[in-house]
């Protein structure tokens, strides 16, 4: 089986080519549950994201052992600890390269990255830009609460200008990152925005991302009820508009760019842009032509092949 087939890379037609995946495998919601109790504040937007991810995996029939959730550091990055799935809780800002390494070593598994706006757009911003253009088969869920919450309320890369926080008592001077436009400019092939207050709709977007061939960015508006008194559930609810219901064509880059400029009175959610024309990075890696490297025995280099390497040095 080629890596292409093993990788379960989507083709944008709602079909997962890997036969091991797909609904109707006898999985239930219980399969994704643990006894671990989240330490999030009651009412935190992260609960909606956790519910949506479980639901999406269940609906797609991706069993807990077939996926790995790689997270950063922050409230929301504790997510893998609160569901039954392989988890790797890494360093602040570094889940994308960790996940890329995992994906390149074992493209037979689904790799999902969960981190925050500080992780993805701040300290790990360089990795994010390069992941966008590289296009590895990762689903990237960014829990964007526009604040640093775990460290108790400092401004983040997406905090709106003028917001008072503990590190911007006079109001933040910096203009916020526009994650959608930045990802588009960096060459991302799937760019979407969701809202933690609508877990069902969010699950649908995660499923779409899981079907994408390469890197899928899903920026998720996540209310922080403790440290962000501006961007609340009500604040978002009043502003959210659906790209889908407004007739947006996600294959139209220019339209995506235009809609990505809206963030104020109207905040579009849904898929801004998507193309399945760009191969996933792992599809083109020469070293993967023989299949996932983790599945090969370690001593498969025979004596003749080794001697050939030595003879190159004569």
């Amino acid at each position: 089986m080629s890596v292409d087939q093993r990788a379960g890379a989507g083709r944008g037609d709602g079909r997962l080519p890997d036969g091991r995946h797909g609904p109707g495998r006898g999985l239930t919601a219980r399969d994704y549950m643990t006894e671990q109790r989240p330490t999030w504040c009651p009412g935190c937007g992260d609960f909606g994201i956790l519910a949506a991810l479980r639901e999406a995996l269940l609906q797609e029939g991706i069993a807990p052992h077939e996926a790995v959730v790689v997270s950063g550091i922050g409230c929301g990055s504790k997510l893998p600890d609160y569901m039954r799935v392989n988890g790797f809780m890494t360093l602040h800002g570094r889940p994308l390269p960790v996940a890329t390494g995992f994906r390149l070593a074992n493209p037979a598994m689904r790799v999902i990255v969960v981190d925050g706006d500080g992780d993805a757009y701040g300290i790990g911003g360089n990795h994010w830009l390069h992941t966008c253009r590289r296009n590895p088969g990762l689903v990237h869920l960014v829990e964007n609460n526009q604040i640093y919450a775990l460290t108790k309320g400092q401004y983040s890369p997406t905090t709106e200008q003028g917001t008072r926080t503990t590190t911007s008592p006079e109001g933040s001077i910096e203009r916020p990152v526009n994650p959608i436009r930045t990802a588009l400019a960096a060459g991302a092939t799937f760019v979407a925005r969701g809202f933690a207050g609508e877990p069902k709709e969010l699950a649908r977007l995660i499923r779409e991302a899981l079907h994408h061939r390469g890197y899928a960015l899903l920026d998720i508006l996540q209310p922080c009820i403790t440290y962000n008194k501006v961007n609340t559930y009500d604040w978002y609810a009043e502003r959210i508009v659906r790209l889908e219901s407004e007739g947006h064509d996600p294959s139209d880059f220019d339209a995506a760019w235009a809609r990505a400029g809206e963030f104020g009175e109207r905040i579009p959610v849904g898929v801004f842009y998507r193309t399945e024309e760009v191969p996933a990075y792992e599809e083109r890696v020469p070293g993967l032509k023989r299949g996932p490297v983790v599945e090969r025995p370690l001593d498969d280099l025979d004596e003749a092949a080794f001697e050939a390497l030595e003879r190159e040095l004569v």
């Binding site: 807990p64 052992h65 790689v70 392989n86 809780m89 390494g101 070593a105 370690l298 030595e310």
Partner: protein
């Protein structure tokens, strides 16, 4: 056959092809049956500035460069000024007749001045760029090295440029060779490198090559790196061989990404490598702790260069020792190995991957520019794959039968907490500190690995008792490794009893070994203790050897005597002397011998 041991230097400007000429001549000498040890001395720039290449050719195996050179092949007038004083008293200086040079000064110094119209000959048969061919042919002629050997290398090196270029270069070589052979100077030059019939074919490789061969022999399947001199050739070699060997290589956006990619691949179950130099390693330190905390195998090779900061990018130093031993916050187990030569670099690569997987922890290999880029000959069969068979310890892939102790409460431990999500405890408390590791993808073993402190099942916790036990479990792996005899004590070179003992680590093995011979000539009976395995430190073995040392002199390439301090820290042993160099140039055997004599002074005969 007479015993031969000749060093020669090719000097010129960057961009003049000094290094390719040097490598080409090394190759010709190696194929003619000589043992070779070559070093390149070049600057961190593409063009301009003086570069040189030093080749040592001998009829017996050699482990270091050796001064003084018997021949200078000067591609610029400047290189004559720079090298003249360091040449052997009866050395020859080959240079182009057109150089504005005081030949009288060369002769007055006792050396033989050999002007050759190299440029003119090159122009006659082709172009100015063929001057290097003329120069090498002139050197070959002076040394009575067979012309056919040079012709073979010329054919090989220029084949891809077409028959005309090959023929032009051959004509240049023949004419120059003949002119020099007939010159009166040739008759006065006493050094000879005739062809050596009956010698076996040998590999000619640098330390990074040897390390790469060890890595692929060990089943390395993933390499991530950011280009950084002098480590870059590892990523390049691996990438050139990635497809046939089925290895994933990734030139990452920075070193933080490189080590994180390697850790991600290691977590997935691939034997993963990250190659860098000190500056890149500095960026990797946080992730080194991630590997320690999540018990993820990863091998990092730090090919040291002159620091601090950008430092001396193309030069050598051994000044990352104390940094690497302590890098990253908190306590966690790690291995640190510093191979002494090309053969040991090969073996160390294989051992590093075994240790990383058996003990589920990061392994740092400390190489340096001197080892990484010095070229030496090795007989076939010297790189023995069977010396270090692949061992993965308590690791299994999905679908393979359960490991001993993998199931049950407490991962087989009676007093452990209830089993985790799947009755599998990834971080089970075990007597040896090593927990059975199932690679991700097994339906019976779904687990998390947090960089936060965690319990046996991999859930985040700050509970007091768990923290203590988990810290002890992780750190216990070092004791287990020592008790299992994984860590080697010092290798002794030379006699068991000696007046003076040289104490060295890493790449200083060769130069220090050869210094023993020179000391012997001075009437000083000396031996050498050399360490490859630095952490966890085999203290008992070290103390056993150190007790026999009468007068100890540490030999190392850094300012502050880091290994001397390390010995004091680990054993309480205080070396009497220190021979050090920190100008980025590798210590040479004669220099070591003189330094040792100075350190121990009149105390020895």
């Amino acid at each position: 056959m007479r015993d031969q041991d000749v060093s020669l230097v090719i000097g010129g400007d960057a961009g003049q092809g000094v290094e390719s000429s040097g490598a080409g001549f090394s190759s010709a000498l190696a194929r003619a049956g000589y043992h070779i040890f070559s070093i390149a001395d070049y600057r961190s720039r593409i063009r301009g500035g003086h570069n040189f290449y030093q080749i040592r050719a001998a009829t017996r195996p050699v482990a270091s460069h050796l001064d003084p050179p018997a021949l200078l092949l000067a591609l610029t007038a400047e290189s004559v000024e720079l090298h003249l004083e360091s040449l052997a008293p009866d050395a020859a200086v080959l240079y182009d007749s057109s150089f504005r040079l005081d030949a009288g000064a060369v002769e007055r110094s006792g050396r033989l001045a050999v002007p050759v119209p190299m440029n003119e000959i090159a122009m006659r048969h082709g172009s100015k760029v063929m001057m290097n061919t003329a120069a090498l042919a002139a050197a070959a002629s002076l040394l009575r090295f067979p012309l056919q050997r040079m012709e073979a290398v010329i054919r090989q090196n220029f084949a891809r440029k077409g028959e005309r270029v090959v023929e032009g270069n051959l004509a240049v070589a023949r004419e120059t060779y003949e002119q020099v052979r007939r010159s009166p100077a040739a008759a006065r030059f006493r050094y000879r490198l005739p062809g050596l019939p009956g010698q076996p074919e040998r590999m000619l490789l640098h330390g990074n090559h040897a390390f790469c061969l060890g890595a692929v022999a060990a089943g390395c399947r993933f390499v991530a790196a950011y280009p950084m001199t002098p480590a870059t050739t590892i990523l390049e070699w691996m990438t050139a061989h990635a497809e046939p060997l089925g290895i994933v290589t990734k030139h990452a956006e920075d070193e933080l990404a490189a080590i994180c990619m390697a850790i991600g691949a290691g977590f997935a179950g691939a034997r993963a490598l990250c190659s860098t130099s000190g500056g890149g390693f500095s960026l990797m330190t946080e992730a080194l702790g991630l590997a320690g905390m999540t018990e993820t195998p990863v091998v990092v090779v730090d090919v040291q260069r002159g620091g601090p900061s950008t430092g001396l990018p193309t030069r050598t130093e051994q000044a990352d020792l104390l940094f690497v031993l302590h890098a990253s916050q908190g306590d966690f187990p790690r291995f640190v190995l510093a191979p002494g030569d090309h053969v040991e670099a090969f073996e160390t690569a294989m051992r590093a991957f075994n240790l990383a997987e058996k003990y589920q922890t990061p392994v740092v290999v400390l190489s340096d520019q001197f080892l990484a880029s010095s070229l030496r000959t090795l007989d076939f069969g010297r790189l023995r794959r069977d010396a270090v068979p692949v061992e993965r310890g308590k690791t299994r892939r999905p679908g393979e039968p359960p490991l001993p102790g993998e199931r049950g409460p407490g991962g087989g431990q009676e007093d452990g907490p209830a089993a985790g999500r799947d009755g599998y405890l990834r971080f089970a408390f075990t007597p040896d500190g090593i927990s059975p590791r199932v690679l991700p993808g097994d339906p019976e073993a779904v687990y998390g690995a947090p960089s936060d402190e965690h319990d046996e099942a991999g859930h985040i916790t700050e509970e007091i008792d768990n923290r203590k036990r988990m810290m002890e479990k992780r750190m216990r792996k070092l004791e287990t490794a020592l008790a299992a005899g994984e860590m080697r004590g010092p290798r002794r070179v030379g006699p068991a009893e000696a007046e003076v003992t040289l104490l060295a680590w890493g790449s200083m093995l060769g130069p220090a070994s050869e210094a023993l011979v020179l000391l012997e000539r001075e009437g000083v009976r000396a031996n050498l203790l050399h360490w490859c395995d630095l952490w966890p430190f085999a203290g008992e073995a070290a103390e056993r050897e150190l007790r026999r040392v009468r007068r100890g002199v540490v030999v190392e390439q850094n300012y502050s005597g880091q290994f001397r301090r390390f010995l004091r820290m680990t054993t309480g042993y205080e070396a009497e002397g220190l021979v050090r160099r920190y100008d980025g140039r590798p210590l040479e055997p004669g220099e070591i011998a003189r330094g040792v004599l100075k350190e121990v002074g009149a105390g020895v005969r």
